[in-house]
């Protein structure tokens, strides 16, 4: 079946907005995605006719909620092709997943002098937790640099990996450059040295099918709100063997088995890692979003988004006053650029007034900005519901900016 973006758009009530008297052009999907009606209604419906906390309750609604929550876990499992649903841990988001993991992995496996490798293009959420860990444990953070076109200098990896390397954490797709990183190669090289790998999938899982078993990554993290689901929910996938080795990162709620002041024992994973009342409504809403994506067809979405990206890149590159950041051959969904001699902030103010939602600034990736010696970019990030006409609107807005500030 052909992918029909106009019929997809009808599923997203938020897109049907006017702003400053113009139809909203939402190109800020990298920050957060809009929610399809099925997700909105699922949450609504849960609130009005199903709400109850999960776990230990034995009354009807508690049991029903527990079942929906555990089914949500299975839906996530299937979506990312995990081997077992117990490998899927619900967290508060990508940032929550990485921080929890950094804490837990750090307590168990990181000693002074140990090394952790990340890349120069990471989002702050995949930098700062590791910096905090390294500072706490006296470990060393090492950086895979990237080339000006936005590709990782992957050949440097061999010299970065030493006998002291304990973990590699890299993003799958860059939120500023759109680069699709060669994570299979990275994982293979890491595993050849017995080093586990964390993949930050915050910008990939909504654009491309994920098979954590084929990837063979040890950990995979993403956020609900960027994949057309609710806020306050995220995923930490961990290969089963890690679930037993890692200590819990939070205490309380149902994550315990026996609590006494002398000794507390923990529950089995995944519950071991889900202290307190989880965001069960968020989890159920996220599962609904994943079902929507599956139903709509991941490959159709990817094809549509890739065509849009190509169209947008083409149109932008025709403008001689534009610098485009991120020109990797393997690229996804992100158009990051600046106008010559125009501050991204000035540009953003005007683009906004044309009814277009783009993001300006560092996109929580200051090292990328430092790489190019700039203070920020204008970023248009594409989603499944964006159209060619919307790219055209963006292009005219960019021209208008040029006219105003030239």
């Amino acid at each position: 079946m052909e992918y029909d973006v106009y019929s997809v758009r009808k599923d997203f009530p938020m897109l049907n907005q006017q702003i400053y008297g113009r139809p909203l052009v939402y190109l800020d999907n990298g920050a957060t995605a809009q929610k399809p009606l099925s997700v909105i209604e699922c949450i609504n419906n849960f609130h009005t006719s199903k709400n109850s906390t999960i776990h230990r309750g034995i009354h009807f609604f508690s049991e029903q909620a527990t079942e929906e929550f555990e089914n949500a876990r299975k839906t996530v499992q299937q979506f990312i092709h995990a081997e077992k649903s117990s490998e899927v841990i619900f967290t508060s988001g990508t940032t929550g997943s990485i921080n929890g993991l950094a804490w837990s992995f750090g307590e168990r496996f990181i000693s002074p002098g140990d090394e952790i490798i990340i890349s120069e293009m990471e989002h702050h959420s995949n930098i700062v937790p590791w910096q905090m860990l390294c500072e706490r444990k006296g470990a060393v953070l090492k950086i895979i640099p990237f080339n000006d076109d936005g590709t990782l200098e992957i050949n440097k990896l061999d010299t970065l990996i030493t006998v002291k390397t304990r973990l590699i954490s890299v993003m799958h797709i860059s939120n500023t450059l759109g680069t699709i990183n060669p994570i299979r190669a990275i994982i293979a090289r890491a595993h050849a040295n017995d080093i586990p790998v964390v993949i930050d999938g915050a910008q990939s899982v909504q654009h491309t099918g994920i098979d954590v078993q084929k990837l063979d990554c040890d950990f995979f993290v993403f956020s609900g709100h960027k994949i057309y689901g609710p806020t306050g929910i995220g995923i930490l996938y961990a290969k089963e063997k890690w679930l037993h080795e890692l200590p819990p990162f939070q205490g309380g709620g149902e994550m315990v088995n026996v609590v006494s002041f002398q000794k507390t024992t923990y529950n089995e994973p995944p519950v071991k890692f889900e202290a307190g009342t989880p965001n069960y409504i968020g989890a159920i809403g996220l599962a609904e979003a994943l079902k929507y994506l599956t139903k709509t067809g991941l490959s159709g979405i990817a094809k549509h988004e890739n065509a849009l990206l190509e169209y947008g890149s083409q149109k932008l590159s025709e403008l001689d006053f534009i610098t485009l950041y991120g020109q990797a051959p393997d690229k996804s969904s992100i158009l990051s650029f600046n106008l010559k001699d125009v501050h991204h902030y000035d540009a953003g103010m005007i683009i906004d007034k044309m009814g277009i939602a783009v993001r300006t600034g560092t996109h929580c990736a200051q090292p990328v900005m430092q790489h190019y010696g700039i203070s920020g970019t204008i970023r248009a990030s594409l989603g499944m519901y964006n159209t060619q006409e919307e790219i055209d609107t963006l292009i005219s807005a960019v021209k208008k900016v040029r006219d105003m500030f030239a």
């Binding site: 776990h55 034995i58 049991e63 527990t66």
Partner: protein, 143 residues
């Protein structure tokens, strides 16, 4: 002796007599009284099944190629359920227990009407019984 499926069929029919849930529970309470109760000195932590909302102790004996289960619980309804499981699975050889397809759970509506939490407990019980069977099976093969 009837086989596993025949007994399950029998149980399903017994439960069909009751259309009111209270009556089904009353019947489980009745059944709890017939449970072959575990020797008190076997009511130790090692025999506790985890994952149940009430405490469940399960013990297995292996004699002349057959497994005999005894159990206890501090919950009467749980005891009733275990009584059903024992009626079906006790006195069988390891292969039978290992391969048993316990369709009676769906038939008598235990899964929907006793809770998933409870079902989880139930699943833990069944898993433990099958694990015993597996162990004795391996042992008999080994010898």
């Amino acid at each position: 002796m009837k086989n596993i499926n025949e007994i399950q069929q029998e149980i399903s029919e017994e439960f069909e007599l009751y259309d009111d849930w209270m009556d089904k529970y009353n019947y489980l309470i009745e059944l709890s009284k017939d449970l072959p109760v575990i020797d008190t000195k076997l009511k130790v932590n090692d025999n506790l099944i985890s994952g149940c909302q009430s405490r469940v102790w399960l013990h297995a004996d292996y004699e002349a190629g057959l497994i005999h289960f005894t159990a206890d619980s501090d919950s009467i309804i749980t005891k009733g359920i275990i009584a059903l499981l024992i009626r079906i699975l006790s006195g069988r050889n390891p292969e039978e227990v290992m391969n048993a397809d316990l369709f009676f759970i769906d038939r008598i509506g235990l899964r929907q009407n006793l809770s998933p939490t409870r079902s989880n407990g139930l699943l833990s019980m069944i898993k433990q019984m099958k694990l015993y069977a597996l162990a004795y099976h391996a042992k008999s093969k080994g010898s």
